[in-house]
Point group: D3
Chain length 144, copies 6
Amino acid sequence: MPSGNPTVYITRKGHFSASHRLFNRQWSNDRNQEVFGKCNNPNGHGHNYEVEVTVAGSIGPDTGMVMDLKKLADLLDEEVLERFDHKHLNHDVEALKGVIPTAENIAIVIWKILSDRIPDGRLFSVKLYESGNNFVEYRGDRTA
Amino acid sequence: MPSGNPTVYITRKGHFSASHRLFNRQWSNDRNQEVFGKCNNPNGHGHNYEVEVTVAGSIGPDTGMVMDLKKLADLLDEEVLERFDHKHLNHDVEALKGVIPTAENIAIVIWKILSDRIPDGRLFSVKLYESGNNFVEYRGDRTA
Amino acid sequence: MPSGNPTVYITRKGHFSASHRLFNRQWSNDRNQEVFGKCNNPNGHGHNYEVEVTVAGSIGPDTGMVMDLKKLADLLDEEVLERFDHKHLNHDVEALKGVIPTAENIAIVIWKILSDRIPDGRLFSVKLYESGNNFVEYRGDRTA
Amino acid sequence: MPSGNPTVYITRKGHFSASHRLFNRQWSNDRNQEVFGKCNNPNGHGHNYEVEVTVAGSIGPDTGMVMDLKKLADLLDEEVLERFDHKHLNHDVEALKGVIPTAENIAIVIWKILSDRIPDGRLFSVKLYESGNNFVEYRGDRTA
Amino acid sequence: MPSGNPTVYITRKGHFSASHRLFNRQWSNDRNQEVFGKCNNPNGHGHNYEVEVTVAGSIGPDTGMVMDLKKLADLLDEEVLERFDHKHLNHDVEALKGVIPTAENIAIVIWKILSDRIPDGRLFSVKLYESGNNFVEYRGDRTA
Amino acid sequence: MPSGNPTVYITRKGHFSASHRLFNRQWSNDRNQEVFGKCNNPNGHGHNYEVEVTVAGSIGPDTGMVMDLKKLADLLDEEVLERFDHKHLNHDVEALKGVIPTAENIAIVIWKILSDRIPDGRLFSVKLYESGNNFVEYRGDRTA
């Protein structure tokens, strides 16, 4: 059996389908259009978002696990996916109120939600795919 | 070089990101909620749609092609993707006016748009993925 | 809105992780090894199976749907995925008792389970992926 | 065990990486450029091709299989992948001599190679992906 | 040609299909069921595992390579995939004897196997996908 | 709204299809064959390459973005994809002249091209997939 207490990174992936509009309410329509382009469509547009949550930790000698992936999956479902799925991110999600729902900001908000529930600094990364070609990652206050 | 005039099926895949809401305006809110559930969220939700367009035909002996895939790609881009991408399908797309934008109806509308531009009954199939787990296909009036 | 009653094919995809062993109990060990090779490993091996269920039908004019994909998803979950997931297909699944659990036979069994629940011959196809490189499809008694 | 002799479709997928140039040697350079565009780059370009071979048949009652997928995989490897992989399709592959190596023609040539080795008309389809967005399918002389 | 000796990370991906059961033989059945849930199914269940092995190093000026990817692929095949594929990880794999075959422990064991064969601390990461939604990574004794 | 100036990593993915041949012109044919094997095929072979470019930075408080992903996409298109797509990497790409076009060297060359256009050390990683099973990553002169 593996000895010592090596760090292992475990990741759970989830999905949610949502609408958003990139829009800064303190700017003119022209300025919003200039900066956000087609992402500023007034009626919004949408994505199948994929979110990967990574937790780092040592392995429990009795379980062979860093953390029960089922519990991480449940946490992600309850705290994030159920609140974000089939919603308009500008209007329907409490945690995003007042936030421009760029992928970057959504990832940071998901980090904040989960870091309260995953103790001891073990939350390592939140990665958010807006599409197969665009994605972002946030690792908290750590430097690169 | 292959002899005869065998039928070959060629497919071009494209992507668009859009919002929609499933909602029958002739029904009460309760009835809409009962039938469409979370897909009836008033502010809408969204998807990264993938659309596969298949054309059937014999191979041109000089070109080795059923149809220039670049032309099929351009047709799909101009007639469908540019009109559907980063839009709200209930509000922003002329071809969908008055249509409940289920995947089934979107596929049929894309078929109608393209069948005018792909002559001689060669359009064979329009397949639309709403997510990795849900997709529909329409093959025109052919029987299964 | 689309007129007429065209046939549309809708598909729901699901996943289950299971073990199996290819083994004909009426054969000798040597014969089993010769025919099934490494798939005959006595302790079994396993796969992340993916199953795609396709239903064909005309679109309800009030709903824009062939069938509520949510109901198809629930049906697939309850009747198939919950019974097959995290199981050994030779030992733990009632519907597979006495069946050599090849991908072909599993697809046919899933068809039989679902065709009782999807009336009027609308079940069109069951496609089963054993891995990204191996998959099978069953379309009932229809000819190719 | 499933009764009767239903038809099941089994598919094996393989990969090869190759170069090609679309070019009709009986045409002028200008004509080639007009028809084939960037696919006519004189030094060629390349793809990771994916090929899916589908065989249709009834299930052997003793094996639960249409055909040993391992044998289909070996056939595909030996007859196709080893001859096409890491090659320039215009120059290095005997079976493609004199053929403009469009996806359509490559699929037909693979069909011809395999149909000699898969008896009794059981070869059902050859599907060739040139990229994730472009693919073709050939089903022999069958009508759609 | 690139000057200096920058570090580049090269990765080879491989696949194996196997069964496992999460079970601590020093615990009661109830305790095992409580901790491991459906992963404790007595007859086991299985996965199509994907393993990504990353080696870090500087580029050989004559070869343009960190390490021959073909050799890395052969090493992965011989030392890992051939021993793990189509096996029951609790019973059939020597290197896993006495280890609860969680994804975490399997990744560490694969690291140990390969680090003996990839000298000079160049093995950088072993990433193991149990499914598309669950994966782990081990990077040796390095801190995050 | 997220406070402070946390670092976020944003990634854009692009594709190009190209040919290459691994070959050191200062070596004998035998030596080239010994080292590069089938990758040394004189007429070349090809791939659908995928390139992921990652930029690290803090989020603009007015935009919610590290950098406009559309601008990163345009930069990648203009500086890399248009120059590499449908080309033979040994002959047709100025930036690769004199370089053995291994995945490692291509990644470094793409890094050099982009680092001139992405100021202030914010380019974080260039990841290049030669196929689904082989990929490399370069992170500049940073240590692992």
